[in-house]
């Protein structure tokens, strides 16, 4: 417990990714099994404990702290685990608290009526940081700025492996992951995954560049629309179904209708997760309503019906298709889908073309809802994990650009914390009496070089008119040419529109702010 508490404490104060990876790697190296495996569980999928955490904590606190003072404290601190850790009576903390595995053991086997005294005893034996870490360990939601992917990357470093290899076995394993650590440290074979629905590292596309075209022959490629959803992988075996995000996170519980549709199948397939109404793909905004939810209300499922548009088949009935060519896999996909036809799925249609020029015409017009551009896939390519060059290309439709005026700037974080690197920009709106005012239309924090960032930072500091905490309002004088993929209506923004993927394209030091674009010009792009 003591070492885990020190790890969490350090993770919570170190912002850099490199620092965090080094901290986790040190911990995994220095900590024996099974403790490090329980820590890994806390950093990834959570520790499997059935503790009615909220109720137990509020009962424990009711016996120790006045409820009014507890509430004032909780409101101030903003985090229940931390509030309890800070308020818990200090008992000298002489005895070191038990190890993570002892804690798991005692909480898994405890009689529910003895749960409160057991937890109280653990808290009594701990100092402030340990209490906080203990409650985070049991309650989940660590909030120390570590993603699952980052924790798995630290594991990959421990074993000198690729993080994709960790992903492939991950979902076949359970805490405290003893077999995983033994494999990574070279004592064991790679853990078996037969029959378990596991995540297979995805094949990803590279953006097509101008210089790529001369080397490509139209006959070698298949084309599909690039749908504006999220990339998913469905893995179904007789043991169960899992829906994975592009980073291998299990999102089955968020989309139960998809998991249900694949029940009883035995396939692994790639596709795009979309919200579909009457066969029409809805804007990304609709899909966003469904993301990141642990519990899904039936109404949400009816209002935002999820759908997977399938485009690749990796496994069917235990057969690994990944060494086959795209063309062969596509045939298998079509054959399988024709008979299996799971609900909430269809196939991403291939676009017939004989010449790239025909595609170019389509590409220019590719502005229908839900389409981001085109995908080009080499017909002969096997399914290769990662982002291999020359096999799959994404050909995003040309970005739109508008000239906007810098309105607010915010400090960045980490290495950028001394620089104003997040920019809110606006366009002109005609008000009453021909008065023009700026309305914010978006925010961007990329697209410029380090040297440009310093120049922007300097401009902001010299032209600040007001400061609100980390945000500065600046004189409306600098024009930023902003590139973006699309514009959507938005009730959340004062201007009524929101840009998708905005980034700074060029800094127009030369252009007077009065000549920047108008809201009407943006609305025309919806």
């Amino acid at each position: 417990m003591h070492h885990f508490a020190r790890l969490l404490d350090a993770l919570s104060t170190h912002a850099g990714r490199g620092d965090k990876l080094a901290l986790m790697l040190d911990y995994f190296r220095a900590t024996p099994d099974p403790d490090r495996g329980w820590a890994l569980a806390a950093l990834t999928d959570g520790v499997p404990l059935q503790v009615p955490f909220r109720r137990v904590l509020s009962n424990l606190m009711a016996q120790r702290v006045d409820p009014v003072l507890y509430k004032l404290s909780r409101d101030y601190v903003g985090d229940t685990a931390e509030t309890v850790a800070l308020l818990w009576p200090e008992n000298g903390g002489s005895g070191r608290p038990p190890s993570l595995s002892e804690i798991v053991q005692s909480l898994q086997t405890v009689n529910p009526r003895a749960l409160e005294p057991t937890l109280a005893k653990l808290l009594d034996a701990s100092d402030g940081t340990e209490r906080w870490a203990l409650l985070k360990f049991i309650g989940g939601a660590l909030r120390v700025g570590v993603s699952q992917r980052m924790a798995k990357t630290a594991l990959a470093q421990l074993g000198g492996r690729d993080v994709g290899e960790i992903e492939e076995v991950w979902h076949a394993l359970k805490p405290p992951y003893v077999d995983l650590f033994r494999w990574l440290e070279g004592h064991n074979e790679r853990p078996a995954t037969e029959g378990v629905p596991v995540f297979r590292p995805l094949m990803l596309a590279t953006p097509i560049e101008e210089q790529d075209w001369p080397g490509l022959a139209a006959g070698d490629f298949a084309a599909e629309w690039k749908w504006d959803g999220i990339r998913v992988q469905v893995a179904a075996t007789p043991q169960g179904v899992r829906l994975f995000s592009r980073t291998g996170e299990d999102i089955s519980a968020t989309f139960p209708e998809i998991a249900g549709a694949f029940s009883g199948r035995n396939v692994t397939a790639d596709g795009e997760l979309l919200v579909l109404r009457d066969g029409n793909v809805q804007p990304f905004n609709d899909l966003q309503q469904r993301l990141n939810r642990k519990v899904v209300a039936p109404k949400l499922m009816t209002d935002y019906p999820a759908h997977v548009r399938l485009y690749d088949l990796l496994f069917v009935d235990g057969e690994d298709l990944r060494t086959l060519s795209f063309e062969q896999r596509r045939q298998r996909l079509e054959g399988w889908h024709a008979t299996a036809a799971p609900r909430h799925t269809d196939l991403s249609q291939l676009i017939l073309f004989s010449h790239f020029d025909a595609l170019t015409a389509l590409h220019i017009d590719a502005r229908a809802a839900g389409i981001e551009g085109l995908m080009l896939k080499r017909r002969a390519s096997p399914y290769l994990a990662g982002r291999p060059k020359g096999h799959w290309f994404k050909w995003k439709r040309t970005a739109l650009t508008l000239d906007c005026v810098l309105m607010y700037a915010q400090r960045g974080s980490g290495k950028r914390s001394s620089l104003y690197s997040d920019y809110t920009f606006g366009v002109w709106r005609e008000g009453a009496d021909n008065q023009r005012e700026l309305v914010p239309v978006g925010k961007a924090y990329s697209g410029f070089t380090d040297a440009e960032l310093k120049q922007l930072d300097g401009f902001i500091r010299q032209n600040t008119v007001e400061t609100f905490g980390p945000v500065r309002a600046v004189k409306p004088e600098l024009v930023l040419e902003v590139a973006f993929d699309a514009v959507q209506k938005s009730a959340r923004h004062k201007s009524g529109v929101a840009m998708r993927f905005p980034r700074i394209h060029r800094i127009r030091w030369d252009k007077p702010a009065a000549e920047a674009d108008t809201l009407a010009a943006i609305v025309a792009l919806i």
Partner: protein, 335 residues
């Protein structure tokens, strides 16, 4: 016996003593001001007549210039001075160098205006003395039970450990410029650390004053006069606002710390992007506030700035009369 609130009460200028015809820590331009300590939300320029300890007056002169008040009158701890029939006495508050509680006696009633105070030991100032009284006027900066500040020794040890572990990196510690900065230096010196300690320009004047007033702080140098190589692995103190400022870029990959009672709460440290939070406070924490109020045996407690809601509630639960005095112009974040 006149009710206390009929002769001491808040005005737009601050706390006013009617029979004495003076203000305590007024905002600005008062005819007669009694000043508890040198922090800028208590000691301001432009008063006609200032009564304060010699240290507080010296601090005001460094901050605002020699002529920042019409007339200065020095009072020693324990000395009795009568102003229009009100007997006035200054007693150490343990907050910063020269800080005082102001004890007022009139018509058989004793009121203590404690200014800001703490009970924890501080090698740069005299310790707080409990004065039994009828009315105790208290601050409430850290008046929530989550604020229990541990021994500063372990926080200083944390700083030194980090400096050993990351010996090549500059340790840039944000610390409030009056009191906290000098206390941190002194605490570090007490561990035997004798290398030069570097200061942001804003901290130099008051630190030199502490040294002139007899607080030994060792080899102190302004950052502006140091070579870049000298600063590698060095300890640098700066205003908290400078941590995220352009000024801090010169130190490269510095370890950024912040010495403040607020660092007890993680969210506060995260907000500031602080890698090394040091819980070192110049204000009383929750148990100190409660213990002090009980020790004064005051029947009536007036709470000035900070979390007055929690403290007033707790004192009422303990059967004491307590109420919030809404004084304007107090800066609770400057800790």
């Amino acid at each position: 016996m006149p009710l206390a609130e009929t002769w001491v009460y808040p005005t737009t200028q601050g706390l006013f003593c009617a029979p004495g015809n003076f203000h305590i820590d007024p905002l600005q331009g008062a005819d007669r001001a009694l000043i508890t300590h040198g922090h800028s939300d208590h000691a301001r320029a432009g008063h006609g007549h200032v009564l304060a300890t010699a240290e507080t007056i010296a601090i005001m002169k460094v901050r605002y210039g020699e002529a920042c008040a019409g007339l200065f009158q020095t009072i020693r701890y324990g000395e009795l001075i009568e102003i229009n029939g009100v007997v006035v006495r200054y007693v150490p508050a343990g907050h910063i160098l020269g800080s005082a509680q102001i004890v007022l006696e009139w018509g058989g009633t004793r009121i203590v205006a404690s200014g800001d105070y703490k009970r924890a030991a501080d090698p740069t100032c005299q310790p707080f003395e409990v004065v039994p009284c009828d009315v105790f006027i208290t601050e409430a900066t850290f008046a929530l039970p989550v604020f229990r500040h541990g021994p500063v020794g372990s926080e200083v040890a944390k700083l030194l450990q980090s400096m050993t572990r990351d010996a090549g990196r500059t340790h840039l510690i944000g610390a409030y410029g009056l009191g906290k900065c000098q206390r941190v230096i002194k605490l570090v010196r007490e561990t035997g650390y004798d290398k030069p300690i570097y200061l942001h320009g804003a901290h130099v004047g008051l630190t030199r004053l502490y040294q002139d007033l007899g607080i030994e702080l060792g080899d102190i140098r302004p950052v502006s006069e140091a070579a870049a190589t000298e600063l590698q692995g060095a300890l640098v103190l700066c205003p908290p606002s400078a941590l995220g400022d352009r000024w801090s870029r010169r130190f490269g990959e510095a370890v950024c710390g912040f010495a403040s009672g607020w660092m007890r709460v993680r969210g506060r440290a995260r907000q500031r992007g602080v890698e090394l939070p040091l819980v070192i406070s110049d204000h009383a924490d929750w148990p100190e506030l409660i213990d002090t109020i009980v020790a004064t045996d005051a029947a009536d407690v007036w709470v000035t700035h900070g979390r007055d809601d929690a403290l007033v509630y707790q004192l009422s639960q303990m059967g004491r009369r307590a109420r919030a005095l809404s004084l304007i112009g107090r800066d609770e974040d400057a800790e």
